[in-house]
């Protein structure tokens, strides 16, 4: 490893300029909390010549309620999201997702922007040998991989807050060379993980993610989130589920159910969602929704155990949203 140039960007414009500048010495990489960048560097997956540190850009900070909903600066830490009282009140599924990500130490440093941009945790992806020898056998994900939409890859996106954010209909906002902000629905922004790309999103190499926005919730919104892991203390999920329900009286008017770590990107469980409108959500309906969710799953021999777990977690999370 040769020396790495470290630049503290003072503004988004400066960061964008640095990222878009032609760099004959090698790649330039932006970092916020730096957790994934450091991991990737240690594993030999990336070897940037230049690191643009975003931590000093004040405009990337801050959590604000807006008339249209919620504004999360890209540098907002997961710990801040987990402990913010208004997020806890209005977006409890997001607060829970942030609270259950990683470890307390990581949550104190990890930002929501970096969390959404992190690379997959696939065992193969995280080992430089499988990047160096591309013909190496393997490359298939392990028992933690996708059970849906997995014909191209079984790698899953690693962000768990993304599961909640997609359920709330969040958008990400980016600024590039043209200086014109661009908003993209998070569900469109995230791409199936790929060894051959530098990132698993539609973010361009010279763009900076500035903030995440969430639409407003109503007094009739109910939500819940559950991350199912092998270990409680610190673990990547077997699956995680976020549920956002719009209620009318005692019936569900509209439902959004999103599952993470079961497909390459957070997946809307539309077969389950369709069952709910106009009905009272009780044990039986929740169980029906759970069963509907897993129809059509295409697990591998190694990860078929995830199917009944997903069914269970959807049922339990739906009931938790009503509790």
């Amino acid at each position: 490893m040769s020396g790495v140039q470290w630049i503290d960007a003072k503004s988004v414009e400066e960061a964008v300029a640095l990222l878009s500048a032609a760099d004959s010495r090698g790649t330039t990489i932006a970092k916020a909390g730096g957790l994934d960048v450091l991991d990737l560097m240690k594993e030999g997956i990336v070897a940037p010549a230049r690191i643009v540190n975003l931590q000093h850009i004040e405009t990337l900070r801050g959590v604000r309620s807006t008339d249209g909903g919620l504004h999360l600066g890209a540098l907002t830490t997961l710990a801040e999201i987990a402990s913010n009282p208004s997020i806890g009140r209005e977006y409890p599924a997001l607060a829970a997702a942030a609270a259950h990500a990683a470890t307390p130490q990581v949550r104190n440093a990890a930002t929501i922007g970096g969390n959404l941009l992190q690379r997959p945790r696939c065992w193969y992806f995280r080992n430089e040998l499988f990047h160096a020898a591309r013909d190496a056998t393997g490359r298939e994900q392990s028992q933690y991989g996708a059970i849906f939409d997995n014909a191209q890859t079984t790698m899953v996106h690693a962000s768990t807050p993304a599961t909640a954010l997609v359920a709330y209909g969040a958008s990400v906002h980016v600024i590039g060379k043209a200086g014109k902000p661009r908003a993209i629905a998070l569900s469109e922004f995230l791409l199936p993980p790929d060894f051959d790309r530098d990132r698993d999103t539609t973010l361009a190499g010279d763009e900076v993610l500035t903030h995440v926005s969430l639409p407003a919730v109503s007094a009739q919104t109910r939500a819940a989130y559950h991350k199912q892991t092998e270990r409680d203390s610190y673990d990547w999920p077997i699956c995680d589920v976020a549920v956002v329900l719009e209620m009318r009286d005692r019936s569900v008017e509209a439902a959004t159910i999103v599952a993470g770590s079961v497909a390459p990107v957070p997946r809307r469980m539309t077969a389950s969602e369709k069952l709910l409108p106009g009905r009272e959500l009780d044990e039986a309906l929740a169980a029906e929704a759970g069963r509907a969710a897993t129809r059509g799953a295409t697990p591998t021999e190694m990860n078929s155990y995830k199917v009944p777990i997903l069914e269970t977690v959807i049922r339990r999370t739906l009931l938790a949203a009503m509790a």
Partner: protein, 806 residues
Amino acid sequence: MSTRDLRNDRTILTGIVGDSLRPVTRNIPAEEPPELPPNSELRVIGKPVNRVDALAKVTGKARYTFDVQLPGMLYGRIVSSTVAHARIKSIDTAAAEAYPGVRAVHVLDRIMSIAQLRDPSAEANERYPLVRYNGQPIAAVAAVSMRAAKAAAKLVRVEYERLPHVTSLEAAMQKDAPVVFPGPTEQAATAGGGGAAPGLPQEGNLRGPARGGLGGGPRGDVQQGFAHADHIVMSEYRTQVQTHVPMETHGLVADWRDDELTLYASTQFTLSVRDEAAEIFELPKEQIRVISEFTGGGFGAKFGIGNYGALAIHLSRKAGAPVRVVLDRREEHVSVGNRPSSIQRVKLGAKRDGTLTALQVESFGTGGVAAGAGVGFAHTTMYPLANVLTEHYDVFTDAGPCAAFRAPGQVQGIFALEQALDELAHALDLDPLALREKIDTNDSDDARARRVERRIGAQHANWSQRRPPAADSGAIKRGLGMAQSHWAYIVHGTTSCEVRIRGDGSVIALTGAQDIGTGTRTIIAQTVAEELGLNAEDIDARIGDSRYPAGPASGGSRVTSSITPAARNAAHLAARDLAARIAPALDAKPEDLVFQDGRVFPRGRPERGMAFVEAVRKTNFEEIVQRADRREDYDGYRAKLGDLHISKQAIGGVQFAQIAVDTETGVVKVEKIVAVHDCGRPINPKLIESQIYGGVIQGVSYALYEERHLDPGTGVQLNANIDQYKIVGSRETPSIEVHVIEQLGRQSSTDARGVAEPANVATAAAIANAFYNATGKRIRTLPMTPANVLAALRADEDSEDSRGQS
């Protein structure tokens, strides 16, 4: 005849304090100090004294090998194989040598810690050692900085001629499987145990059967035993490969000088480092000094110098400067040891009343490129069984070598054996505790201890409230199970301690033994303090230096059993020496002087005495130096394997597990473990508790989470970190209730025995038995991940996979 050889008969009370003590006559060397009373009558021994080095540890002052910094020290980085099986055609180190800051490059010409060909001629013409696993060390680079060493190591070009490889146990057992070794192999034991029985047949990757081991080999006639059984249970159990993951990775700092080689080692046995270095570098042992002030865990894997240590020494010699080689976490997982896997087919026969008639075990295990997998010795030593046959096969795979790991083999073996007994109990409609009561009847201290331990454990685990299997109707099912532990009581043959009383009243105790985290300094200080009437913190216990008197290995649960008698004997001699000098001033006979509460006084007349320090100053000497050995156990040993002396007695414990199984997600939560153990005379209850906590936590981790995953295509370990190699965390740590009994075996001057290994042996089996009680299904595969649990719950077999005898 010297005084050393004089022996007297002494009649002493032996047994379990608070339960039953009975007189026994022991023939004891005359020089041994008088027997100690029960702990309740002692001042320092048996008390929960804080670690004497606790402050140094929590403030960071304690210097681990990782922390060693020497003037001019270079950083070593290992070049490892990136293929699983290959012949090395060439190694080009030119670019690495030319890299700025590089001072030396060394290519290994021999690989240690793996099985060796019985007939080395098959590979005698190889230029380099063959690569047999992905991650095998090949060479190393020493440079002025770690960054330079890493960069240069990447420039070493290794050209391979690939050979077919095999990484899974089952695949390696196939007839047409790629062969890891071209001929039969041998693997000598290390000071930490391990190794494999010599001279066994080897066909392909299958080496065995081994029928002997510590238990003494087959007994009786199992066919006849099964013929006499009313009931037979037969099951297959599987356990995974677990890696050691000590907090401090393996490391060595080598400082090669013309007249002396100094090695700073993260080790479990300073003298094993010295001896292996002396052998490989053909140096006189006296010319090598090994220093190990603190070792951050080892669990069996830190004996000898290892390939990394050999590289550090080679590089230091070449560079003419100290060289530090400390493994990173990946290297630690891959190349310096693991607990082998196992497949165990257990057949157990019994009469209707539970009397065992026969036990037969066929087992396979892979320790990668090392032999020494196994299932322990409990089958032949724990319960009195007339008919036993165990046959074990090592299966070689292209994977990192195994090493001794906290109760090697026994953890795997007990997982199956104690579950088979639970299956038997249910099949015979016996309470599992009642079955143990019936069969656990050896004339041995551990069996006597377990009888008491079962009673204590049953009470604290609420055994009488235990419900029938699968009593909960909801998704979450709770259960209670128990399993028994058994381990050898081991003494290290060559163990000495020196005690110095200095003219200023300070006291120093010296031994070469190291501390892998169990509290060696503290137990020595306590033992010496007890004898001199001082407090533990008054004793400066100095350890971890091969120049000090020879100390025991930290392996096999033998430090406390070995070092405390030596320390007491030396302190006793020092006290008598001081008594003789101060007696005239106190107008008393030396033999009447008592050392207690920081004072010296004639027995029964404390007012006539003086402070210890005053007594020392009054007698005006520079230093009293007394050195003593750990004498052999008064009753002798069952076996001596070099310095590993195995008692006729044993140690053990009983553990109870209360768990909750989420039958919909397959997540197992261990809620509580009650661990009741014996370790002879408890020297320090706080340290013992700490060891048992550690054993239970490691046992829970093994039962539920830990597993090495290899990529079959490349042999790469996929989870060689602590992100994806899952270890129990704080939220999964159960409530652990520890009870320790006081058992006075009267075999040494302190009656102390070990506890580290038995603390880890029974946990997985207790959890598995609780799983059955919770769900009515058996889990015979470790770890109990959701995938394995859901598979076990789905299994539609009869809940007891057993059959009655027709």
